[in-house]
């Protein structure tokens, strides 16, 4: 089946079998291997991508054909003009990863979390990321990374001239 999917702002037209899962479409058809596959059963969250700028979805549990006509953002779409996104900078600065396998999913889930709740509490971050597993860090630095990103993404106060 012919599908047309916009990924990170670029439109791709491909012929796929209906049973192709979105994670494999991104990795194998489009070569975007930043989206990882972990448990492959919608438990671990390493495959999370953003659908239509509003939903974090586990791309191992969505068919590529379901993305036909929709927009997907992957980890590759975060960096803009060579400048790290505040989430990427946060994970860098706070050492929010060790092996890094879960990191793309953590960032994409956090991207939607911060869009819906720009100023989350620590508890809200932990709850929001509870569908994403990390086996290295113990989560502490991941939470700090998201806190740093949230602070960096706050609208800057406009200086008024008297």
């Amino acid at each position: 089946m012919k599908i047309s999917v916009t990924v990170n702002g670029k439109r791709y037209e491909r012929d796929v079998e209906p049973r192709t899962l979105l994670a494999y479409f991104l990795r194998e058809s489009l070569g975007l291997t930043g989206t990882h596959v972990g448990c492959d059963t919608s438990s671990c969250g390493v495959c999370v991508v953003v659908l239509d700028g509003e939903k974090a979805v586990k791309s191992c549990t969505m068919l590529a054909v379901m993305a036909d006509g929709h927009e997907i953002m992957t980890i590759e779409g975060l960096v803009q003009g060579g400048v790290l996104h505040p989430l990427q900078q946060g994970f860098w600065d706070q050492h929010g990863l060790q092996c890094g396998y879960c990191t793309p999913g953590m960032m994409m889930t956090s991207w939607v979390l911060l869009k819906q709740n720009p100023n989350p509490s620590e508890a809200e971050i932990r709850e929001g990321l509870s569908g994403n597993l990390c086996r290295c860090t113990g989560y502490q630095n991941i939470v700090k990374a998201v806190e740093q990103a949230a602070a960096a993404m706050q609208p800057q106060p406009v200086e008024t001239v008297a």
Binding site: P18, R19, T61, L63, V65
Partner: protein
């Protein structure tokens, strides 16, 4: 593993959906959020020859109050309830449930109606639907019928939706004044199936007696199970510690769980009782009735 091959259809209207379902009958499955169906297909536990994807039918993505009922359309995601101020203020049992289904990412795609249609013995929404006496609106090419939840949940992974039909909506009666409820769930980790679960919804009369009550348990039988004896233990009386204990005992007795890595039969039966007790206590306390602990 990839799902077995299937033909994929994405109708643009409900009429077109019904034509496809009539045409393919038992070979077809409706695809909404896919958070249960796609894993089942990947494990080859489900092998539908045809998928009818309703994700384009935005008109089914509603959560609204109509004629004394909360109507939730087939494409309303779990997350829509979790973020709804109406649900938070007026439907405490549903709000509780919406926060513990699967995990926060899965809830962004998963649907309430889809969960009921999947009818996993450990599903959350079926327990809550029983306790709040929900109804499911089922449509086929020959007409629409409204099925009480007790009749809808036929058996594990089996419902009253017949070949050629689609579950369009679930309806929860809007709670009368002095109504509250609670959903209680034990899980090993966020996103795991329930080890045990219980839902309770209570309406108090003007004299403080229990006017209406619904109690159900999950992960304790082939489907979610109404605990009628627990309801009887409290209906028409003012709540007491003894009556709550009797309700919990009724749940322990009727619970029919299977042993798995989450626990033994004995443990799960006991937890069914414990959680019914906790759900009742929480619901009464939300109604301002204390002194029951």
């Amino acid at each position: 593993m990839f799902p077995a091959p299937f033909d994929y259809h994405r109708p643009g209207s409900l009429d077109e959906t019904l034509v496809l379902l009539a045409q393919y009958g038992g070979d077809a499955r409706v695809l909404a959020g896919g958070q249960s169906l796609i894993p089942a297909m990947r494990f080859r536990l489900a092998r539908p020859a045809v998928l009818v994807d309703i994700n384009q039918l935005d008109e089914l993505a509603y959560v609204r109050e109509v004629d004394g009922m909360l109507a939730i359309g087939a494409l309303a995601r779990d997350a829509a309830l979790e973020r709804s101020s109406l649900i938070e203020s007026s439907y405490p049992l549903l709000f509780d449930t919406s926060a513990v289904v699967a995990d926060p990412v899965v809830r962004q795609m998963g649907t309430v109606v889809g969960s009921l249609c999947h009818n996993d013995p450990s599903g959350d929404w079926s327990v809550t639907a029983l306790a709040s006496r929900a109804q499911v609106v089922v449509r086929g090419s020959t007409g629409t019928r409204v099925v009480p939840i007790d009749e809808f949940l036929v058996d594990s992974f089996s419902t009253a939706v017949a070949e050629g039909e689609i579950a369009l909506e679930v309806r929860f009666p809007s709670p009368p004044p002095r109504t509250s409820g609670s959903y209680q769930k034990i899980e090993r980790k966020v996103g795991d199936f329930a080890t045990s679960a219980a839902a309770a919804q209570i309406t108090l009369g003007d004299d403080g007696t229990v006017a209406q009550i619904g109690i159900a348990i999950g992960a304790a039988g082939p489907t979610a199970t109404r605990v009628a004896d627990a309801e009887s233990a409290l209906r028409g009386i003012k709540p007491t510690k003894d009556a709550i204990r009797a309700a919990a005992d009724a749940a322990r007795k009727i619970a029919d769980p299977v042993a798995d890595p989450r626990g033994s039969v004995e443990f799960k039966k006991d937890m069914a009782g414990v959680l019914v007790g906790r759900a009742l206590l929480a619901a009464f306390e939300r109604l301002g009735v204390g002194g029951l602990r």
